[in-house]
Subunit: 247 residues, 2 copies
């Protein structure tokens, strides 16, 4: 039984994804937080995209959704932030309006979330793939240092009132939805040795971030479909391939 969208109709969602992709996982978390029904279609990212999928998303990336509901018919949306925000916007919830805030307060919350997410991706996460690919100890040390310093300077202060989530929210917000897949990988990969152990120690030295991150990764919506061993194995293979190509 489909849930109501704005009380006017029932949404029908086809979700094109791959459970190993952190970007697609943003939309996955959104769907789970909103408890929306959907049909999941897995796109194999290890082979060239098939024509039928390129018709849905010419860029060939995941996620994409096909959405019908609330007066919107058979619309295709792509790009993880766009898809996630759209789903959150058509279903007002704790993700966009913690404590049911409205008006200017809701706009301010949205702006604070946008600043947080932009800071995370423009100041911190630029080091994610370089860290995974780094070969020498010197390179790894420098990148770990830069990542921890960037989180300390740009993210730590923005989490001072997290309780346990962004802006004092008791439930996940879009700030978590859009960053969680990477936060999860920083924690998981540094535990598994895919990222340096020193990263784990560096993150643990940041009280706001580490407390927040540990709460984020515990959530059912973030855990859903995160087959840790398979994802670590997949990333190991991908990194090996990238390194081989670079030589």
């Amino acid at each position: 039984m489909a849930a109501a969208v704005n009380g006017t109709s029932s949404p029908s969602i086809t979700f094109y994804t791959n459970r190993g992709c952190p970007w697609a996982q943003r939309a996955q978390i959104t769907l789970k937080e909103l408890k929306l029904p959907y049909e999941e279609v897995t796109i194999d990212l290890n082979t060239p995209r098939e024509d039928w999928y390129l018709k849905i998303n010419p860029r060939g990336l995941v996620p994409s959704i096909n959405f019908t509901g609330g007066g919107v018919h058979d619309e295709i949306l792509t790009e993880s932030a766009v898809v996630s925000q759209f789903l959150a916007d058509v279903n007002p919830s704790h993700l966009t309006q913690p404590d049911h805030i409205k008006g200017a307060q809701a706009a301010l919350f949205r702006a604070r979330v946008a600043f947080f997410v932009d800071s995370f991706f423009s100041k911190v996460n630029t080091g994610f793939y370089p860290l995974l690919k780094a070969e020498s100890q010197e390179e790894k040390d420098k990148l770990v240092h830069d990542t921890v310093e960037a989180i300390k300077k740009e993210i730590e202060p923005l989490l001072k009132d997290a309780n346990p989530f962004f802006g004092g929210s008791s439930k996940l917000t879009m700030a978590e939805v859009l960053t969680a897949p990477f936060v999860q990988r920083y924690l998981s990969f540094s535990q598994a040795g895919l990222l340096p152990e020193s990263l784990k120690q560096g993150l643990e030295s940041l009280p706001n971030f580490s407390k927040w991150a540990n709460e984020v990764v515990k959530q059912d919506s973030v855990q859903f479909g995160f087959d840790e061993q398979k994802i670590i194995e997949g990333m190991r293979n991908r990194i090996a391939k990238l390194k081989a190509q670079a030589k």
Copy 2:
């Protein structure tokens, strides 16, 4: 007399900006489209930022706003997209809801705008500063070709129903607000010889884009404070400085 925000109070806005900065101009256009009153404070970008401004925006960039209104008191917001979207969100208007659309349709419009703006900045505008700094004819030719091809592939199809603005809107939308300062500079600078003349010809060969761009740059809110000769001169000096530093 200040306009009402959500009918609950009158906004008081201090706008820290520099009229030569295209990013700050995004917020300027938003303020003008929404007909909001504000106090403008010019930040000199040619000298180190003073301490009082670094307390407002530790990154030292423009724009920043200090906003009071609608139950929000003395809040500082930074980063041009965040500031512009916040102002548009607290004042529902043609920018976010053309034809007064609501619910899922409004969310869909917002998603389409987000996809458009992301495509413009991730696929097209990455060539803006490289083009300004390019020295050899070969380099310029390549960058002009790449820029025109990117607009043709990524932007032209998204403007097929522009009438004259994004999504068939008769007034500016956030799609224009967030891209207009750069569209304006592509047109103006290629006319003035600061960008290659061939760029102008390339853009004119794209019917949707050129029709749309010509309408965008005509708008009062986009023209406001755009002292063309001064901006061209300022950019010439800045490019000369960047080229000298690179040597």
